[in-house]
Amino acid sequence: MKVLEFNNVHRAYKRGVDVLQGVTFCLEAGEVVGLLGKNGAGKTTLIRIAMGMIEAQQGGVRIFGLDPRKDALEVKRRVGYVSEDQILPEFLSVAEVIRIHRGLFPTWDDGLERRLRERFELSPKARIKFLSKGQARQIALLCAVAHRPELLLLDEPAGGLDPSARREFLETSIQLLNETGTTILFSSHHMTDVERMAGRIVLIHEGRLLIDDVLDDLREKYSLVLVPHGPEGRRQQLQGLKGCLSVRDQGDALHAIFAYEPGRCRSVVERELGIPNAYCASIALEDMFIELVGGRS
């Protein structure tokens, strides 16, 4: 069952400067998808469009088959949302914030709330404005998940948190995922987090979908190829090869990413460019991210 569908989503903030240019992908129930992209790629805009906070200028978004703008209440009752810049009403205490959320979500799970607040060691009388960033984010997560959402949207939820708080946050999310089968779309710059949580990766670059693949396939199917500098036009030659996603000049050699496993990659380079035994290897997610977004800028 499709939980979240982006269909040819376009959005610009300034005329002629498109932030999203026809992004299309969907999330099936129970999937955990990591949304990657460098700063300014359009990740936040995409998640905000999913939440109905921003409208798509072209294309559409459906959550549970509903329009998040027109059926906002129905959608928001079934979605949990945490973002880096999300702020809670600073004048409330922790208990008041929770009471408000309890009143807004009919599916609120008191048991889960108790477990989380004990785990996070939250004090009911503490005012939001006096909490640390990590504590505030923990409350935001508690509020986002304690109503057992069918879809969890996390926009760089661990941004700005220290490693221990980030780990705590992730572990909680993973645990919840295992328990309930919640669908999760989350954006992050921490590749280790993505590798720990996500089963599928969506990479957006300059408003376009660059990669949408299962994480295991990414590790197996994609390769880094190092090609020595040669005659003029080699870079263009490389870029023209089938399966080549990006080429980056790194001084000593050209770094290319291919959507093939290393063996096939090696034979393609040898056949098409006449370079025998070129260095071809599987690539870690973080390196792939750097090569891809760097090689296409």
């Binding site: 004048f91 060691e121 006096f130």
Partner: protein
């Protein structure tokens, strides 16, 4: 130092634009407030009155600037990382506040001066007002310096003072004392201003010496009381204590009225700055509603231009919106209906206006029932109704006049054949449409004719017949210059006919609420159209400024048109009142129908604005993408 002044939070934020808007507003409002009482021929402001009025106006203007102009923020956190001493930052902040304050003052006084020039022929003495303005320059400037120094002596080691109860109490005390000081200095010899100036310099020097080499972000001692302490020690509290605290907090959910109170706090009372705004604005809106209600007209027989301030009223109600839309990101990700949010954004202001206007209307109706609405009198007012007339004439509330669409009102003829042209005024200069009084008694009318017209007016307004011969014998006499005048100077009909109750009252309250409501909701719709991710904050400020300019321009334009003799406020108001009365007369259900129609139209405007609100894009800031 110039660089520091440019970087100061006061000059480098919206405070300047906001202050400029306030100064313009204050200037116009004060100008109108000064000119309106001039409607009363007996009104004399005098030197002390002029000084007091201008001092209050000036101080209110400066107080709003000091309240909202980031006086509490001495530098930006970024500046703390630069190799600039705290003392230098403190000094530049004081200078920025004083200079900006004086600039706003100049702006507001400039607007006032322009209005005085434009309305130079009013019964008020503009020369006296100008003199009062000149007399206030030194007291206000000295007070501003002292108040700024006092405010900056609160927790001088902090880069910004926390906007809590402590600051609020300090601010109210300092502001009240400031007004008292201005008034005192205005009446004392100019040299007396040296005393507060010396105090300001001494206090400033002392505080300057106590400012540390670098500001701190938070005070050394913990603040925030138990709640803050409990959050700081969150990890240290044992799990049993925490569990007990949670048990005490209970499993309740915030719904209904509790959730409503939360929304109200979110949108109107938090952060503390919004509390300041609410404390200022709600009383102003209530007073404004009272002013528009017609109470003063009923009480002092002054026909105030209530309909001509509709656009300004719309702006007054709109003024909350920009800050409120910035609070929406706190709630927008939650399943809270936009309709509910819009209701919370609009109803409190509308309710405040309704309370003021409703109370005023009730008061006006009570007064009108205790007074005779038919008057036979002269007036010496030139610019405000009732206007100067050569001889006494019958005056009635505007709704009992009539409209001549072709400018040819019917002739009024007495049974004995006496006839006079009716008193009529064009809707605006050059208009064919005129408003006329069917009860005119022009110069040369016989006493019998005047009595007949009074009798007819009473029949129209009260539905009772008082024979004209009785009015003639009991109340009228011929004056020395062969004119007609009242015996003992007044028509005491109510004493002799206690059963007289006015009929045909118009539904002024719904009509006013409709006009203001539609204007305000239209402005709201325009502003909300700019609440999209593709519009920058600066773009929204521009749109809001345009709305402000239109509102202020409409009021100034109307005042200018009134002074130039293009329009008369009483004629326009009477025109609208006659239309309302005719509508009530022509519709089954009378005033009830007017109420229903007004409510439906208002609801229509509300629905349009609400639809626009449902389309807005709520963002904590423009995303980096």
């Amino acid at each position: 130092m110039l660089d520091l002044l440019r970087r100061d939070p006061v000059t480098g934020s919206y405070a300047l634009k906001f202050g400029a808007i306030i100064a313009l507003n204050a200037g116009v409002m004060a100008g109108l407030a000064i000119t309106l009482p001039a409607a009363s021929s007996s009104f004399k402001l005098g030197r002390l009155g002029s000084l007091a009025f201008l001092a209050i106006f000036t101080w209110a203007c400066l107080s709003i600037f000091l309240t909202f102009g980031k006086a509490w923020e001495r530098c930006r956190p970024f500046d703390m990382a630069l190799p600039i001493s705290g003392r230098k930052l403190w000094l530049s902040h004081i200078l920025a506040l004083v200079l900006s304050g004086l600039t706003f003052l100049a702006l507001a006084w400039g607007v006032l001066e322009a209005l005085f020039r434009a309305l130079g022929k009013t019964p008020l003495n503009p020369a006296q007002l100008r003199q009062a303005l000149a007399d206030l320059v030194i007291p206000v400037s000295v007070t501003l310096i002292l108040v700024v120094v006092l405010l900056q002596s609160i927790r001088p080691s902090l880069y910004r003072v926390r906007l809590g109860h402590y600051y609020l109490i300090c601010w109210i005390g300092i502001a009240s004392a400031g007004l008292g000081l201005i008034l005192a200095l205005a009446v004392l010899p100019p040299l007396a201003a040296l005393a507060p100036l010396v105090i300001a310099v001494w206090l400033g020097y002392r505080t300057y010496r106590s400012v540390p080499a670098a500001f701190t972000l938070i005070p050394l001692e913990a603040y925030g009381g138990e709640a803050a302490a409990s959050s700081v020690q969150v990890g240290a509290v044992s799990s049993q204590i925490r569990a007990r605290a949670w048990d005490q907090a209970g499993p309740g959910a915030t719904r209904g009225a509790g959730f409503g109170w939360f929304l109200f706090r979110l949108l109107y009372l938090k952060p503390a700055l919004n509390t300041f705004a609410a404390l200022f604005l709600f009383p102003i809106i209530i007073l404004w509603g009272f002013f528009l209600s017609g109470f003063l007209s009923a009480w002092r027989d002054i026909e105030l231009p209530q309909f001509s301030n509709v656009i300004l009223s719309g702006y007054l109600l709109l003024s909350f919106l920009p800050t409120q839309t910035k609070r929406l990101p706190l709630i927008d990700a939650l399943p809270v209906s936009r309709r509910l949010l819009f209701a919370f954004l609009t109803f409190p202001s509308l309710l405040a206006l309704s309370i003021g206007c409703g109370a005023g209307r009730i008061g006006a109706i009570v007064i009108e029932k205790s007074k005779l609405l038919v008057k036979y009198q002269e007036s010496d007012s030139e610019y405000f109704p009732p206007y100067r007339t050569k001889s006494p004439m019958i005056r009635i509330p505007g709704q009992y006049c009539e409209i001549a669409w072709d400018g040819q009102p019917p002739e009024i003829r007495s049974p004995w054949g006496e006839s006079h042209p009716v008193y009529q005024l064009p809707l605006y200069r050059g208009s064919r449409i005129t408003v006329y009084s069917p009860f005119s008694t022009p110069e040369g009318s016989s006493p019998q004719f005047v009595a007949l017209q009074i009798s007819r007016a009473i029949r129209t307004i009260y539905g009772e017949t008082v024979p004209y011969q009785e009015i003639l014998n009991r109340y009228l006499e011929v004056s020395d210059n062969q004119g007609v005048r009242l015996k003992q100077g007044q028509l005491s009909l109510l004493a002799n006919y206690p059963g007289l109750k006015p009929q045909g009252e118009i539904a002024l309250f719904p009509a006013l609420m409709l006009m203001i409501g539609v204007t305000w909701l239209f402005m709201t719709t325009v502003y909300l159209r700019a609440c999209r991710a593709s519009v920058t904050d600066a773009g929204r400020v521009v749109i809001f400024s345009i709305l402000v300019a239109v509102a202020i321009g409409s009021s100034v334009g109307q005042a200018a048109a009134m002074v130039a003799g293009v329009v008369r406020p009483d004629v326009g108001a009477a025109f609208l009142r006659i239309l309302m009365r005719n509508m009530a007369d022509a519709t089954p259900g009378g005033n009830l129908a007017v109420w229903i129609v007004c409510t439906l139209v208002l609801l229509g405007a509300y629905w349009i604005a609400q639809s626009q609100f449902q389309k807005i894009e709520v963002l904590p800031g423009r995303p980096t993408r």
